[in-house]
């Protein structure tokens, strides 16, 4: 199982913004935790979403040791206006540029980045994503939408913030 999944888990951690050192720390914590909790894994399901959830939690624990969680929220209308709602389209090319989007992803608040990476980049199903992140399906969808809007704002040259 380790050899089959460690690369994907490491890739997820790097995509969630972990540097090499944090990604390796979280990777080790993930598989140690998986090893210890193997009896709780329901056989017959894919191990990958289960490992993704453990890895994501390990990375969050690492980050929480260093900084508090962002608490500020912004109205959807305000976020959408910043993303270009009701304004002339002017960033279309940037919306198709992989490097620009990877840069913007790196500047999303952690909670939004997790959802966007799992749903849009990795193609994890909505219910599995919600389960892995400990969110209701509705909350996961809302966070995904906000994350995409914030990406649009960043790609239009908007401010980098912590959500």
């Amino acid at each position: 199982m380790v050899r089959r999944h460690y690369g994907a888990v490491y890739g997820l951690l790097r995509s969630l913004g972990a540097d090499d050192a944090d990604a390796e720390d979280a990777l080790q914590e993930c598989f140690v935790s998986a090893w210890r909790n193997a009896p709780s894994f329901r056989g017959g399901e894919s191990a990958r979403p289960w490992l993704f959830a453990i890895a994501r939690n390990a990375l969050r624990r690492l980050h929480r040791r260093r900084a508090g969680e962002p608490a500020r929220t912004e109205s959807l209308d305000s976020l959408a206006v910043g993303a270009g709602w009701g304004q002339p389209a002017r960033a279309t090319a940037r919306f198709e540029a992989a490097e620009e989007i990877r840069w913007a992803l790196a500047h999303l608040p952690e909670g939004e980045r997790e959802v966007v990476v799992m749903r849009d980049l990795l193609g994890v199903e909505g219910k599995e994503t919600a389960q892995a992140l400990g969110l209701s399906l509705a909350a996961m969808k809302s966070r995904l939408h906000r994350g995409r809007l914030r990406l649009m704002r960043l790609l239009r040259g908007g401010e980098v913030d912590d959500g």
């Binding site: 199982m1 210890r36 009701g86």
Partner: protein, 99 residues
């Protein structure tokens, strides 16, 4: 921008925004989709914004995440799991870790 309270069909511009993600992801009811389609037909600003949103989602879905981690990362991981394995009589689960 245009008035977010402008109503076209049964929806105001503002009403559309919370459902745009579900619309692009095909996760809304047929009735709501029909209402959004009607709004977009009469509201070029929301239609343009919806197109940009959909374009971004398409690009996100096309981005690959390479399976990462080199041999040394794997070796250190397997080494740590191996030490854990050696330190206990049996692993808590079966032997499927491959470590």
């Amino acid at each position: 921008m245009a008035d977010p309270n402008r109503r076209i069909g049964t929806l105001r511009c503002r009403d559309l925004m919370p459902h745009l993600g579900g619309y692009v992801d095909h996760e809304i009811s047929a009735e709501l989709r029909e209402a959004i389609d009607a709004h977009l037909e009469g509201c070029p600003e929301c239609a343009d914004f919806g197109s940009e949103y959909a374009r971004l989602v398409d690009t996100l879905r096309s981005l690959s995440i390479p399976e990462d981690g080199d041999d040394s990362v794997e070796a250190r991981l397997l080494g740590r799991l191996g030490r854990l394995w050696s330190a206990s009589d049996r692993p808590p689960g079966d032997d499927s870790t491959g470590a």
